[in-house]
């Protein structure tokens, strides 16, 4: 299995007629992902064409969901309108809204997150690369690629990856694939201070997924979400876990690219998080080149076969 999405998941692309959304909708179609509908208000009735694919465009998420049965949406809507796009998914009762958009005002996210309380929709992101469940074809084709990750670097398998950073996720996936180790699902939860799904949420899902045999958690400075996940792992998880925290050399008080990557106190530094990882039995990657290596060590120590 996998978490969140399977190769059969049908997806809606909000913002499919914009440059960014269109480009990644095409790449997802090429990967074999079931892109069922596009949404662009005012362009309902048009068709998004790519090779043999004809994707119908709707004016609203509710219409797209009703017409196609899709229950997952990916959002490529520009920052001023992105929070509204998320709320539209919640209102339409979707299962999952994956928000790629970078630069959404924090106040908008605070409001949307409050509005999502008690509703069934799960939000991933914003400011994230999305979710990939690799397929069984060449270069993992036939999988479900939601967002902007390069599909071809994946390989179907048993390792779960969760990260706040896009390129670091690709780095970890590439290392695993190069060593012949496949992935169950890779989840980018995004680099913003207010996001929909935490490291812990994803770790719990990986822990419950029988096909996920080990996981890599990638974090960075700022906030304490990685610490929360590590403590839960120590108490509840028997699967091998490797971890990496970026930003050991970041100066305090400066925002390092990601809106959420800022050291504010003594508990959200890389050193503090790494110390908690160690204390919780997570094998720490000394450098970003060592992420797959660290997981292999953790698996060996627990007698778990990753392949």
């Amino acid at each position: 299995m996998s978490i969140l999405v399977t190769p059969d998941t049908k997806i809606i692309v909000q913002g499919i007629t914009g440059d960014f959304g269109a480009r990644h909708a095409r790449l997802s179609l090429d990967y074999g992902t079931k892109v069922a509908a596009g949404v662009t208000p005012g362009k309902g009735g048009q068709v998004f064409e790519h090779g043999p694919h004809r994707v119908p465009i709707f004016n609203s998420v509710a219409e797209a969901a009703a017409a196609t049965g899709a229950s997952v949406s990916v959002i490529f809507v520009p920052p001023p309108y992105a929070a509204d796009a998320i709320f539209e998914c919640v209102d339409a009762g979707l299962d999952l809204a994956v928000t790629i958009t970078e630069g959404i005002p924090v106040r908008d996210m605070v409001k949307v997150k409050r509005a999502m309380l008690g509703r069934k929709t799960r939000l991933i992101g914003p400011n994230c690369p999305g979710v990939v469940t690799p397929g069984t074809g060449d270069h993992s084709q036939g999988g479900c690629r939601i967002g902007i990750a390069p599909g071809y670097i994946h390989k179907k398998g048993s390792v779960g990856v969760v990260s706040r950073s896009g390129t670091l996720t690709y780095e970890a996936v590439f290392q695993l694939t190069t060593q012949g180790i496949g992935q169950s699902t890779c989840v980018g939860i995004g680099g913003d201070p207010v996001n929909g799904t935490s490291h812990l949420d994803v770790v719990r899902m990986f822990n419950d997924d029988p096909e996920t045999r080990g996981m890599i958690i990638i974090g960075e400075i700022g906030g304490t979400a990685e610490v929360e996940a590590a403590r839960w792992i120590k108490a509840n998880c028997r699967k091998p876990v490797a971890g990496f925290i970026a930003g050991a050399t970041a100066p305090a008080g400066r925002r390092m690219g990601h809106a959420g990557a800022i050291v504010g106190g003594t508990e959200d530094t890389a050193a503090a998080k790494i110390a908690v990882f160690r204390e919780c039995g997570i094998e720490v990657a000394e450098t970003p080149s060592d992420m797959a290596g660290a997981l292999v060590r953790a698996a060996l120590a627990r007698g778990v076969k990753l392949v």
């Binding site: 106040r107 409050r114 950073s165 390129t167 959420g260 450098t287 080149s289």
Partner: protein
């Protein structure tokens, strides 16, 4: 984005938040006009820089204190003359200090007691939180460390805003008397409005004071705004003071590059924030020191790469460059071509190590190798980091 205290106080005035009367001046010629706004008598002179610890700071010429209490306007005029144009070094500015280009005069207040009041984002609950303390005028981090029980926190529900009972509770726990309490409650509610209406990421008042007559006043004001929300606040963007920012960082933002200057000797050029941070880390891990954080974004164009090289080379401390690109979607050959062009155009003499991985990487590496330039190739991040550290040593 940060603003100066005098700008924050002007914003406070617009919202009806009480603070001592004040006026800024940017030249000695402006001192008299600024002081004319204030009543006769004790006056504060405050250096306007975007860094804390001003009161305990020292100027480069030895003059002590970036914030001064003066008994008369004449004394204030003299102190302001010492500060303006002088460079103030505080615990937060680094050894280089910051040049004071504006001074702010305010009427000195009669202080009964000092408090701390702030509103910021509570990341754990994804909601705004009011943080307050009876220990004002000292660093809040110190209070949090030494007497955490003296800090009170109230999380605001974004669906309802701050509730009456929450404000009452704060006022009671901070120990205000009846007259002060009324003013404090109004102050807190107004500050919450300001925080929301301006898309602030933090407002901090340290100290907030009471006077013997029961007034509640903001003696200091620190406000920073969510960069993501600036598009809907042109009036706030207009407050940006480019003098307070590193010129290289300003140039970078013009090219949609994310650059932060550091004090090492190995410059980095990376795609993606997480990878950029960990590139700095891996340089340090192998014994070098990063000169900067530089994220060219997911889809680095040739122009961006070229602009990035120019910015990097504007830092005289740079002794070598580490380019680390994981081209997931973008074509590594496009990046390689951009690097070769930039190096040729700039006549780069410093050691350059490039680690390329991802889409069309073989062609990218071939382009680098065929360029005839001395570009060292790294196979992995670790390999490349070791190479650049060795070349710079």
């Amino acid at each position: 984005m940060n603003i100066h205290e005098y700008q924050a106080k002007a914003l406070f005035e617009k919202f009806g938040l009480p603070a001592p009367k004040g006026a800024p001046a940017t030249s000695p010629a402006g001192f008299d006009a600024a002081l004319a706004v204030l009543p006769e008598g004790p006056t504060m002179v405050k250096s306007q820089i975007h860094a804390g610890g001003r009161g305990k700071g020292t100027f480069k010429d030895g003059f002590k204190g970036g914030v001064k209490y003066c008994r008369t306007k004449a004394e204030a005029r003299e102190a302001a003359g010492r500060m303006l144009g002088n460079t103030l070094v505080t615990a937060q500015t680094g050894p280089g200090g910051r040049k004071v280009q504006t001074v702010y005069f305010t009427a000195a207040s009669d202080i009964k007691k000092e408090y701390y009041l702030a509103i910021l984002l509570d990341r754990a609950s994804s909601r705004p939180v009011i943080v307050a303390s009876t220990e004002g005028g000292v660093e809040i981090e110190k209070v949090a460390h030494e007497s955490p029980e003296k800090i009170v926190r109230t999380v605001i529900d974004p669906a309802y805003g701050v509730a009456d009972f929450q404000v009452r509770d704060l006022v009671t726990r901070l120990g205000f008397n009846a007259a002060e309490g009324k003013n404090a409650a109004r102050f807190i509610r107004t500050l919450v409005s300001l925080y929301g209406a301006t898309d602030a990421s933090m407002v901090e008042i340290n100290p907030l004071i009471t006077t013997p007559s029961g007034e509640v006043l903001a003696l200091d004001a620190k406000v920073s705004f969510d960069d993501n929300a600036l598009f809907r606040h042109p009036e706030i963007v207009a407050l940006r003071d480019l003098n307070e920012e590193d010129p290289k960082e300003i140039e970078a933002s013009r090219h949609a590059l994310n650059y932060i200057a550091l004090d090492g000797s190995i410059a980095c050029l990376v795609n993606g924030a997480g990878l950029a941070m960990s590139t700095m880390d891996i340089i340090k891990h192998y014994g070098g020191n990063p000169a900067n954080f530089l994220d060219v974004g997911g889809g680095a164009s040739k122009d961006q790469v070229s602009a990035a090289f120019k910015i990097i080379l504007g830092d005289a401390a740079v002794r070598g460059i580490f380019v680390n690109i994981f081209g997931g979607i973008m074509d590594c050959n496009v990046i390689a071509t951009g690097i070769v062009e930039a190096v040729r155009e700039l006549g780069l003499k410093l050691p350059l190590v490039v680690r390329l991985e991802g889409n069309n990487v073989a062609a990218g590496k071939a382009t680098l190798a065929a360029s005839g330039l001395t570009i060292v190739s790294g196979d992995t991040m670790a390999d490349a980091a070791r190479k650049i550290v060795a070349l710079v040593a």
